[in-house]
Symmetry: C2
Subunit: 225 residues, 2 copies
């Protein structure tokens, strides 16, 4: 019987590097998928490439035209990334329907590769402000996917797996360290400084990440500017 | 109060030209969205542009990287488009997760534009073999979208509307003719001949379309080769 297969949505950040390690540890043959959605994230894509290479998996990059839609600080250059502010409600870094688009590509690739699962690194603790990170969203996506796909019709649905769903950043770091993840390869910062991608240390992503390492009692390998 | 807005997914075919006319007739300010998903569909995109111009709406084309995934006769050049065969089960022209990806872009654009609805031209009569054309699929997509979006969280969900859902091709043609749709602008053929896009007359899409005009008692404006 061939190994079970998984598409792993890989952003190059801490969370997705951890789900890749989890998927591998569970015996999945992994196929990494990243998204090129505008000029801001080329350093992220380099990080994703490093993480996939270190894990010995293949890596595809899908170009998606979200930048043309505007609407978020992560895809437009004229909206400032917020620094050192407490999130309240839905943050401006929210990208409309982002996880829905990402999962849909993951679902398509899983059908093409006849893979059994799509892994996504969302969690509902750190990103409580994002509607499309909530457990009820992931469950609704699964229900939709079961009806959307050939495999679903055949009774072999593609599972949407979000193993970080209920974990905070410190728990994610501890889990990843236990699985041998080299977090120095990853990039979480929303506003990294080219060309090396030095982290700003001040955006939400940097703050969650730094606090995660601190609470996990693990040295932070992030290179700050 | 501003007009209600809609994103209309426009393929350049008969069905999507009809939903654009329906959306306009219902008072929606329409924003058309088409997808460039590989070399095969440039003639479709030209048709979509003609239809949008004739309706006086704006028109965006999102480039999506589906071609790199392979897996369907509509995105790969090395799988023959079936001709003159009765469909049985899921046809080879099925594109993995296609409507899921299309609706996800529609949902994202609707959030950016603060539009109230996304119109999609699926119907479950002619395309009974496609899992992602069934009413239960559209309902599940709506349930997911309600949880995925800022508007959903705010209690102003973006509606996923598939007004052709229960109609056969003849009924769609009759409806469109009544709304003044110029079907000579549209292209349905899976295998059109460049540069004019002359229809083959033999693929599933051509056969459904031709039969639709015949049963509706309307002259078929399609240019066959």
């Amino acid at each position: 019987m061939p190994a079970k297969g998984a598409v792993v949505l890989l952003s190059g950040g801490l969370d997705s590097a951890t789900i890749l390690a989890i998927a591998k540890s569970e015996g999945y043959a992994c196929h990494c998928l990243s998204f090129d959605y505008g000029q801001r994230n080329s350093l992220e894509l380099e990080a994703a490439g490093r993480v996939a290479r270190a894990a010995g998996t293949d890596h595809r990059i899908a170009s998606i035209g979200l930048g043309a839609f505007g609407g978020s600080a992560l895809t437009r250059n004229d909206i400032a990334v917020p620094k050192d502010v407490e999130p309240e409600g839905i943050p401006p870094t929210y990208v409309p329907a982002r996880n829905t688009i990402f999962l849909s590509y993951g679902l398509a690739l899983a059908e093409v590769l006849d893979a059994d699962a799509v892994f996504i690194g969302v969690n509902s603790i750190d990103y409580s402000g994002y509607p499309d990170c909530r457990p009820e969203y992931v469950a609704a996506y699964q229900a939709m996917a079961d009806l959307a796909t050939r495999r679903g019709v055949e009774g072999r649905p593609i599972r949407i797996l979000a193993p970080l769903q209920k974990l905070d950043k410190a728990a994610i770091v501890r889990l990843g360290i236990g699985l041998g993840v080299d977090y120095s390869l990853t990039l979480s910062c929303y506003d990294p400084l080219p060309p090396e991608g030095l982290a700003c240390g001040a955006c939400d992503a940097c703050r969650f990440r730094r606090e995660g390492f601190r609470l996990a009692g693990v040295p932070d390998p992030t290179r700050y500017r």
